[in-house]
């Protein structure tokens, strides 16, 4: 399948909020997809597998700090995560698909984080939730790892301090779109993402 040059996600039946902006050229997201289309050669079976993966992508309970509380609110009654099939937060990384790094990662916590990531089975995705996980946030100091992408490959970054639950859901939806578009998880893409 892939996404041909000049085409947009909408042409493939996927939704993106950029559709609302008529006349706007393919944005960075679509350009990235187009750039990676050489890596992608999806068949109908691949599409079916991607559909299944996005509809029950179970997160790992990796809540660290304030973002974890907003992450805990997402399976709650108002922002129901169960409609995405993701309310089953697995405690064991062996059973989890998505590692949502929610909160600041201190240097002492970095080895356990990498260990949890390594224990997850492929295919696995990583979401850096919040600015602390994305780039160190407001803590540019000795104690905090300046961005979790220094030790694990990240698929999607969700900014915010903390991101609203709707923001986290937007990140999840974008990740699902990515997977459906046939984009491989970040560990297969190597340096191009990090």
């Amino acid at each position: 399948m892939g996404i041909a040059e000049g085409k947009r996600l909408a042409d493939y039946g996927l939704s993106s909020e950029r559709l609302l902006m008529e006349g706007k050229g393919p944005g960075a997201f679509e350009q990235e997809i187009a750039r990676m289309e050489k890596l992608v050669l999806a068949t109908t079976l691949d599409k079916a597998i991607a559909w299944a993966q996005t509809h029950s992508m179970w997160p790992d309970t990796f809540g660290l700090a304030c973002c974890a509380i907003e992450m805990m609110a997402v399976p709650g009654p108002r922002y129901d995560l169960a409609r995405f099939g993701m309310e089953a937060f697995r405690n064991s990384p062996r059973q989890a698909d998505l590692l949502i790094v929610s909160g600041r990662v201190s240097h002492k916590m970095a080895p356990p984080l990498r260990q949890i990531y390594d224990q997850m089975l492929e295919p696995k995705w990583v979401m850096a939730m919040g600015v602390c996980a994305s780039s160190g946030g407001m803590f540019a100091n000795y104690a905090v790892l300046q961005g979790v992408d220094r030790i694990v490959p990240v698929d999607i970054y969700v900014p915010g301090c903390p991101p609203r639950p709707e923001g986290l859901l937007e990140g999840i939806v974008r990740l699902h779109e990515r997977v459906m578009a046939g984009v491989p998880p970040a560990y297969e893409l190597g340096e191009e993402i990090c």
């Binding site: 002492k108 803590f139 540019a140 000795y142 104690a143």
Partner: protein, 181 residues
């Protein structure tokens, strides 16, 4: 509250902004601690706060003014006390004590020490001091003699240096515009 005169090793008592600070000699800290806990009834140790005064008295922290010369724009001072009073030694160690009873009293037991000096541990007086002293050791490098388990508590075990000291860099990574104040 009276009764502070009999604290062993007392150097002075200061009252400021409604708080009482009792200064004692470092060598007699443990006797002072016992006296405060036993005789004066301060049974609750709230906090042990260590502070590093390296570089105190030069430019005031973060300001554009300098230590010499009057700066009329400084609020509340008319420029007269721009230079804060000098400190006796490099580190201050403040024990925030509370007499937990119907008429509570708070006091700050303070002692001063230099780099390389050690101070007695008060773990046997107030067991809560166990982790509080470990934190002061970990982040400031103050060694407490007599502490049964003085190892790092917040930083990784193999960390070098004591991060909250003034000569320890802030770390992180340079961010755009960070050189300008």
């Amino acid at each position: 509250m009276t009764g502070y005169e009999h604290i062993p090793g007392l150097i002075g008592v200061k009252e400021d902004r409604g708080e009482t600070t009792v200064l004692v000699e470092k060598e007699r800290l443990s006797e002072a601690a016992l006296h405060l806990q036993g005789e004066l009834g301060f049974n609750f140790l709230s906090d042990i706060a260590a502070s590093d005064y390296l570089g105190w008295g030069g430019e005031t922290a973060g300001s554009w003014g300098s230590a010499d010369g009057r700066d009329l724009n400084v609020p509340y001072t008319l420029g007269l006390d721009l230079v804060p009073e000098p400190k006796p030694k490099r580190f201050s160690l403040s024990y925030h004590l509370l007499a937990l009873r119907a008429d509570p009293v708070r006091v700050r037991l303070q002692t001063w020490l230099d780099e390389g000096e050690t101070v007695a541990s008060v773990v046997s007086v107030w067991p809560v001091a166990d982790w509080l002293e470990r934190e002061a050791y970990d982040l400031m490098g103050i060694v407490f003699e007599g502490h049964p388990n003085l190892v790092r508590v917040l930083m990784p075990d193999d960390w070098a240096g004591h991060p909250l000291r003034k000569d320890y860099p802030i770390g992180g990574e340079p961010v755009r515009f960070s050189e300008e104040a």
